[in-house]
């Protein structure tokens, strides 16, 4: 039976699912409710000198009928007095001693850092998370991402905190930087016990095109927000991978960014995360999503024979190479399962207009099922991605599986193209239609203007 027990840099929790520092962790009420629902830990809404917030605060990126696939906020850190938060931390820890309560912190001076560390430690927090990520509002005041973007400053502040820390110190990183490993290494050098990433990405989530103002709208004006939700998951995972693969980043990582179900969590763990933090999904669906996450993770581990999270942590990292190390001899081509094909021809138009003209249509107008022109197929996957039917288009292997030749090998062997018209160009003998053929191609009737249509 899978054991989800998590030990994150000494912070213990019954499972790796933590609430990220955000509106869902604004109060002891919410956190108790979350723990009661099954969450393993919670990073308290960032404490510091209380702020004053605006309304509205959130904007959403919807994709068709999917709401909040991306989410942006301009809310700041806690607007509640520190003593109220400390009292509630104490109360939560008393009621849930085995759950992880981590205090997110953001202050300015060394004295303030020392004071607040003492306060939250006394209140019973299991660890702290230094908020060097917030990309809106607080950064204008020299905090949040303003720190995260300056590795030297970050390192200094981490070391101030470590001067007095008696509980683990997590450093939360901002993705609004070109190389995430620089602040990650700085966190290690400053003595941080762990890092967490990513914080939100600077964003304009949408524009009200009638009133010419971006969302969220505050009395006719707006400001950039911090972007999160499912849309940022790929960016978060890449940054997670970069940190996890970096030899100097040898401290635990808490993964954040678009996690909303057990699969997301497994992916983050496979890329090296020790715990995952969730916010947007809870803001969308409530604490109840934890039921699916725990059961799904347990089932996955049981099926794979993993007893603990350590058994598969980072297991995908070894398979992430540089491009130059990929096998150029590997060859796959698309295959359309005629029995499953429903004849939408999305694969045809995607390949025709967006790829390599490797899918053809039947001359018989009754037969809407497209076919692969294998000699043109470069194995790019696009058709299988646009196909609306599960498992209808699959990619079939065509090489013999015995050869391995990488760009690096070819560079060493001197067989890479070097000049603009090199004979070794990868696409040299790949068929492409004549440009003028585009205009001769028969168009569907309704692609013309309606007045031209006489049926």
């Amino acid at each position: 039976m899978a054991n989800l027990q998590t030990n994150f840099a000494g912070i213990k929790s019954p499972n790796p699912f933590w609430l990220a520092s955000a509106p869902p962790t604004n109060s002891g009420y919410q956190i108790m409710k979350a723990f009661d629902a099954g969450w393993g830990g919670a990073v308290w809404k960032t404490l510091g000198v209380p702020v004053v917030n605006v309304s509205s605060r959130y904007g959403s990126l919807n994709y068709r009928d999917t709401r909040m696939m991306g989410f942006s906020n301009i809310e700041l850190i806690t607007d509640r007095p520190l003593k109220d938060n400390l009292r509630e931390i104490e109360e939560v820890k008393k009621r849930f001693p085995n759950h992880a309560v981590i205090a997110s912190l953001m202050v300015e001076t060394r004295e303030e850092w020392h004071q607040i560390m003492k306060d939250v430690t006394n209140a019973g927090a299991d660890g702290v998370e230094l908020n060097f990520g917030c990309p809106h509002g607080m950064c204008e005041r020299g905090m949040g991402s303003a720190v995260g973007q300056e590795p030297k400053v970050l390192k200094t502040i981490v070391s101030w905190v470590k001067e007095v820390a008696t509980i683990p110190v997590i450093v939360k990183l901002t993705p609004n930087i070109s190389d995430i490993t620089r602040p990650a290494v700085a966190a290690v050098e400053g003595g941080g016990d762990a890092i967490s990433l990513i914080n939100t990405i600077q964003s304009i989530v949408g524009v009200d095109i009638d009133n010419f103002v971006p969302y969220p709208v505050v009395d006719g004006k707006s400001t950039n927000g911090g972007y999160c939700g499912p849309a940022v998951k790929p960016i978060a995972m890449n940054m997670l991978k970069n940190c996890a693969q970096h030899p100097q980043v040898n401290i635990p990582i808490s993964g954040i960014g678009g996690v909303e179900n057990w699969r997301d969590a497994v992916e983050f763990i496979l890329l090296g995360a020790t715990s995952v933090q969730v916010c947007t999904a809870v803001m969308h669906y409530g604490f109840g999503i934890i039921r699916e996450m725990i059961v799904g993770l347990e089932q996955y581990m049981d099926e794979k024979g993993f007893r603990t999270l350590d058994d598969f942590r980072g297991k995908a990292l070894g398979n992430i190479m540089h491009w130059e190390d990929l096998n150029l001899k590997y060859k796959i081509v698309a295959d359309i399962n005629e029995d499953k094909c429903i004849g939408c021809q999305l694969c045809y138009t995607a390949c025709e207009d967006g790829a390599h003209q490797a899918i053809g249509l039947s001359d018989d107008p009754i037969n809407r099922k497209p076919h692969i022109i294998e000699e043109n197929c470069v194995g790019c996957n696009l058709c299988s991605l646009v196909c609306p039917v599960e498992e209808c288009i699959t990619m079939e292997r065509r090489d013999n599986g015995k050869e391995n030749l990488t760009w690096k090998d070819r560079t060493l062997a001197g067989t890479i193209p070097k000049t603009f018209n090199d004979e070794l160009a990868g696409g040299l003998h790949h068929w492409v239609p004549e440009p003028g053929d585009a205009l001769k191609k028969k168009k569907p009737l309704h692609y013309q203007s309606p007045s031209q249509i006489v049926k």
Binding site: D65, I342, C344, Q345, L346, P444, H446, P450, V454
Partner: protein, 432 residues
């Protein structure tokens, strides 16, 4: 054991005849439009007689451009709203949806279409204005789908158009002949008003052309004449008892019902004779008026001309089918119907089905009498007007489309063909 009670008020009538394709809410339209795959060379477009660019208008709805969607629809079909409600979408656009090839429900194209066009009508959005007059005048006989479709297109080409309508309302069968649960009178007429305002043709109501003089006057005053007169009365069965009180033709019954709603009183038991879509409508409507309804058809269930979904709809309101029986005689007492004598077409046995009404849905006659007033118009052996590909009749001044040519098809076919006839008229009158 009828599922419905005779309605005694407009409210009760509306409940019995609730719309089978009700208007979508904003939310429903948004979610439904999200499902469209945007197929290449989409089969739904190819299945539409008017060739509406369906994936385009659905995408427009999904990007919150409802009026743009309405324009896409109207560009191809001037009866965009009506067709969204009354088209047999199950066998046209929705029947062609590729989702039918998987286990996913087809996109509700008809309802999305009325959603978008309904917004244009409600906001009185003007998409079209007539072209500058080209000096030519066209008379249109019949303000049904073919006639209005033709008139709209003619106005876009600068023709002056006068429409002569025998009845007091426009849209033909859309308001007089379609089942009330498919479209309400208000909906049908609102779209007509919307079109009339934009295109500016003149409709002369209660103007039945019924003699040589009428025809001569049209020929004298107009450069071309379009005939969109549809079909005539229900054909006679030529059996005993047909003259009895309470024997009705289906189209006549539906028209009365459309015009008078709950004021029509339908008796306890009704026998509907026929197996086409009109028979299904008449049977369903009688059942919704509170009657027990027997649908008697002379051949097997499988041989019925009606679409399967129309029979399913009739069955769903309690209509009982009786197959392989043909009517021998309508039995009366004191001049009123008391039953129908039916004969099995399989073994010749006879039986009497008790009833208080008989509705004949056994086809409509052609308007031969009217057509005989016009010189040189040829009809085929079934009485349908013969036309060429431009919908020009054998009398070069006359064009024709709709049921008088097709013998009885859908609203959408009539609109499409009326529009094509307008192109034919332009070709004739403007080609120099």
């Amino acid at each position: 054991m009828s599922e419905f009670k005779q309605p005694y008020s407009e409210k009760e009538f509306e409940e019995n005849f609730s719309q089978i394709k009700p208007l979508m809410s904003e939310t429903e339209a948004y979610y439904e439009s999200s499902r469209c795959l945007f197929c290449y060379d989409a089969p739904c477009v190819n299945a539409c007689p008017t060739g509406i660019d369906i994936p385009l208008f659905i995408r427009q709805i999904n990007s919150k451009n409802d009026l743009g969607a309405a324009k896409t629809i109207y560009n191809s079909n001037f009866f965009g709203y009506a067709c969204g409600k009354v088209c047999p979408t199950e066998v046209l656009c929705e029947g062609a949806c590729v989702y039918n090839n998987s286990d996913v429900k087809a996109i509700e194209i008809g309802r999305l279409q009325t959603f978008a066009t309904g917004k244009a009508i409600a906001s009185n959005k003007k998409f079209y204005s007539p072209a500058k007059s080209n000096g030519k005048k066209v008379a249109v006989i019949g303000a049904g789908p073919a006639g209005i479709g033709c008139a709209c297109e003619l106005r876009l080409n600068g023709f002056d158009v006068d429409i002569f309508e025998a009845k007091e309302k426009p849209s033909g069968l859309t308001v007089y002949g379609v089942a009330p649960y498919k479209i309400t009178n208000e909906e049908a007429l609102d779209e007509m008003t919307y079109l009339e305002k934009q295109f500016g043709y003149k409709i002369h109501y209660n103007k039945k052309i019924s003699n040589k003089e009428g025809i001569s006057s049209l020929e004298k005053n107009y450069d071309a004449i379009f005939i969109g007169i549809g079909l005539g009365k229900t054909s006679d069965l030529k059996i005993k008892g047909e003259e009895l009180e309470n024997v009705f033709g289906a189209v006549e019954f539906v028209e009365q019902l459309r015009m008078n709603h709950h004021k029509i009183s339908v008796p306890k038991r009704v026998v509907v004779l026929g197996g086409g879509n009109t028979a299904m409508d008449a049977a369903s409507e009688s059942a919704r008026m509170g009657a027990e309804v027997i649908l008697a058809y002379r051949r097997s269930k499988e041989e019925m001309g009606a679409y399967d979904f129309e029979f399913d709809l009739a069955k769903s309101v309690g209509v009982k089918g009786m197959f392989n029986v043909s009517p021998l005689e309508i039995i009366g007492e004191n001049g009123k119907v008391i039953g129908v004598k039916l004969k099995s077409t399989i073994d010749g046995s006879e039986l009497v089905e008790d009833c208080n009404w008989v509705i004949k849905a056994t086809g409509q006659s052609k308007q031969k009498e009217f057509l005989s007033l016009i010189d040189g118009i040829s009809l085929d052996e079934k009485g349908k007007i013969m036309v060429d590909k431009d919908f020009q009749t054998t009398n070069k001044k006359y064009f024709a489309a709709g049921d008088a040519v097709s013998g009885g098809k859908e609203v959408v076919n009539a609109v499409a063909d009326g529009k094509k006839a307008a192109h034919g008229i332009s070709e004739l009158l403007l080609k120099k």
